[in-house]
């Protein structure tokens, strides 16, 4: 069964779109990643123009993250207080990142910096997560990233920073500057790399902010929701590339996928979730590495931004 997408101007198989949405939604619910880094290339592969693919999957991710976040919220996995700080930090970082790209482009080596940054960040992050989680599983310990029974917080220099604040839902105490600055750094990185940063943000919350894995996932979905909502309106207003019919079909699949993902996530321990995320991060890194080393089949590709 085919459907005509009015803004994209192409006809695509309906079930293919629902299936792609379902798969990405599952990952989103399971791991808190937005899924745009997977969905945009999939949509381009099945014939959606790249600019419409990027803008419409941003819109679809609004539904996925709403669904996933609501499921996590009911389970007590969304830290609204910390999430708001992270959201502000992420937006600030993204704005700085856009300027950094402008400077790099003027210097003429932006693409090289972006590619190398991508591979180094993903490679280091994925390897560290995989080793750490594997060791945790082998020890048979629960997935806590810090000693249980006492409030986790910044130690040393971080602990002496001003404006210390308690985040009861996450069970941590930090200076408000720490999550803000860290998230701004991820925002800069995300803007440089052209992705939303979900798969950088979650490990950052777990390892640097010492948040429990499940809360990190729920809180990340919270900030993805608002980021993508803003992006959708901007894309629709400036580029006219949001195809609401396409977004609706993907979202129908992905919201259901996100629900399943969130439920499956409950069956897994924190360390197991970290291993799954680490493997996905390493696969993306490996694909990028192969892509830059091997001589490409085509020297041309459509310009499209991920999330």
């Amino acid at each position: 069964m085919d459907i005509f997408l009015p803004v994209a101007g192409v006809t695509i198989n309906l079930f293919l779109l629902v299936g792609a949405g379902g798969m990405v939604g599952f990952l989103s619910g399971l791991l808190g990643v937005g899924g745009g880094f997977l969905l945009t290339p999939i949509l381009m592969m099945i014939g959606v123009p790249p600019t419409v693919a990027a803008a419409s999957d941003t819109n679809a991710i609004v539904a996925t993250s709403s669904s996933g976040m609501a499921a996590h919220f009911r389970l007590g996995n969304v830290d609204l207080k910390l999430g708001s700080v992270l959201l502000l930090g992420g937006l600030t970082g993204a704005a700085i990142g856009v300027q950094v790209i402008r400077v790099l482009r003027a210097l003429g080596n932006a693409d090289f910096v972006i590619t190398v940054t991508y591979i180094v960040v993903l490679g280091s992050l994925g390897t560290y997560m995989l080793i750490e989680s594997w060791q945790g599983l082998r020890r048979g310990a629960m997935a806590s990233t810090a000693p249980s029974g006492r409030r986790r917080g910044g130690a040393g220099l971080f602990g002496r920073l001003p404006l210390q604040m308690q985040f009861p839902r996450s069970g941590v105490q930090h200076s408000i500057f720490l999550p803000f600055v860290l998230c701004a750094m991820v925002g800069v990185l995300a803007a440089i790399m052209g992705v939303g940063g979900g798969f950088i943000m979650v490990p950052m919350m777990v390892y640097l902010l010492r948040m429990p894995m499940h809360v990190a996932i729920g809180t990340d979905l919270f900030q993805i929701l608002f980021t993508c909502a803003g992006l959708t309106i901007m894309q629709a207003a400036t580029n006219h590339t949001v195809d609401v019919v396409l977004a609706l079909i993907i979202a129908a699949g992905s919201t259901i996928g996100a629900q399943i993902g969130a439920r499956v996530g409950r069956l897994l321990r924190g360390d197991q979730l970290k291993i799954v995320l680490a493997i996905i991060v390493l696969i993306v890194m490996a694909k990028m590495t192969i892509g830059v080393i091997m001589t490409p089949d085509s020297l041309l590709s459509y310009a499209a931004k991920g999330h």
């Binding site: 459907i3 709403s66 309106i233 629709a236 080393i293």
Partner: protein
């Protein structure tokens, strides 16, 4: 002088009478000559393609008449396009996206149909001039900025368009049938590709003989959106910010709605006698 004028008039009159007599005596031969010299024709069925929300591929038929013994090429083409792409380049040991490359001077859509390869019956300069095969397209396109690997960029562009369904070169698609009363009839039946966007396209039939194009005829085909698809498209263009805001509201409603439905379903299932409820639903879980 007047005598001379009278003679000229007499000669013209005699010639006219002679021509009329010849035409009356040999009607059959005059008819055949007329058919051979007639311009080719093309008709499309349907003449317009309407893209509704659930339109799947539309089958299009092109048919018409050409002179007997002529080869036929049917070309469906869109307006010239200018497109920008990311270009990959080698940077030391790695390949990275390195700036943009702009391609212009070739149609947005180009479908060339014939009964045999066009270079079997047309001269190369004619093929290039009329843009009838991939080599002609590669030669015609303008690539900016000019790069060392420009020949590969040109080839990759055509390959990309063929994969997308925007370009097609089919040398076994047109059927030509000789007519007993003289001339020939051709027919072409193909599915309009779903990846081609709405717009105005031209279908042209080329009558070819002796390595040349000796005649041509063109018919237009309009591909347009209708119904809900057209309404959504207009809304997205004319009230873009409202459209974007509504798109976000719609997605949020869908997301929260599906979550509420799933939660309700799980609660209902949990209340059934003999089935254990989910003790964790609606509670803050210990996360580790």
């Amino acid at each position: 002088m007047p005598r001379r004028d009278t003679d000229v008039t007499r000669v013209i009159r005699s010639s006219a009478v002679l021509i009329l007599l010849l035409a009356a005596v040999c009607p059959a031969s005059a008819g055949t000559a007329q058919a051979d010299a007639a311009a080719p024709t093309i008709a499309l069925e349907p003449p317009a393609i309407e893209m509704g929300m659930f339109s799947s591929g539309t089958r299009l038929t092109a048919s018409g008449r050409v002179a007997d013994g002529a080869q036929v090429v049917v070309v469906v083409a869109g307006a010239d396009a200018r497109e920008s792409f990311n270009r990959k380049a080698r940077f030391g040991p790695i390949w990275i996206a390195s700036g943009q490359v702009h391609v212009a001077g070739v149609p947005s859509v180009l479908h060339v149909f014939s009964a045999m390869p066009v270079d079997a019956f047309l001269r190369r300069d004619v093929i290039d001039r009329e843009l009838l095969d991939a080599t002609a397209v590669i030669g015609r396109m303008a690539v900016a900025p000019a790069e060392a690997d420009e020949p590969r960029i040109r080839e990759n562009y055509v390959e990309l368009k063929i994969v997308e369904g925007r370009f097609r070169f089919d040398a076994d698609a047109v059927h030509v049938e000789r007519l007993p009363q003289g001339g020939a009839r051709y027919g072409l039946d193909f599915v309009w590709p779903s990846t081609v966007p709405p717009g105005r396209y031209d279908a042209t039939v080329y009558e070819c003989r002796g390595g040349e194009v000796v005649g041509r005829a063109t018919a237009g085909v309009a591909v347009r959106e209708v119904g809900v698809a057209a309404t959504v498209r207009d809304f997205a263009d004319s009230r873009a910010t409202v459209y974007g805001t509504l798109a976000v509201a719609l997605m949020m409603t869908l997301g929260f709605g599906i979550d509420a439905l799933v939660a309700r379903f799980r609660r209902t299932r949990g209340r059934r006698p003999g089935r254990p409820g989910d003790p964790r639903a609606g509670k803050a879980l210990p996360v580790h």
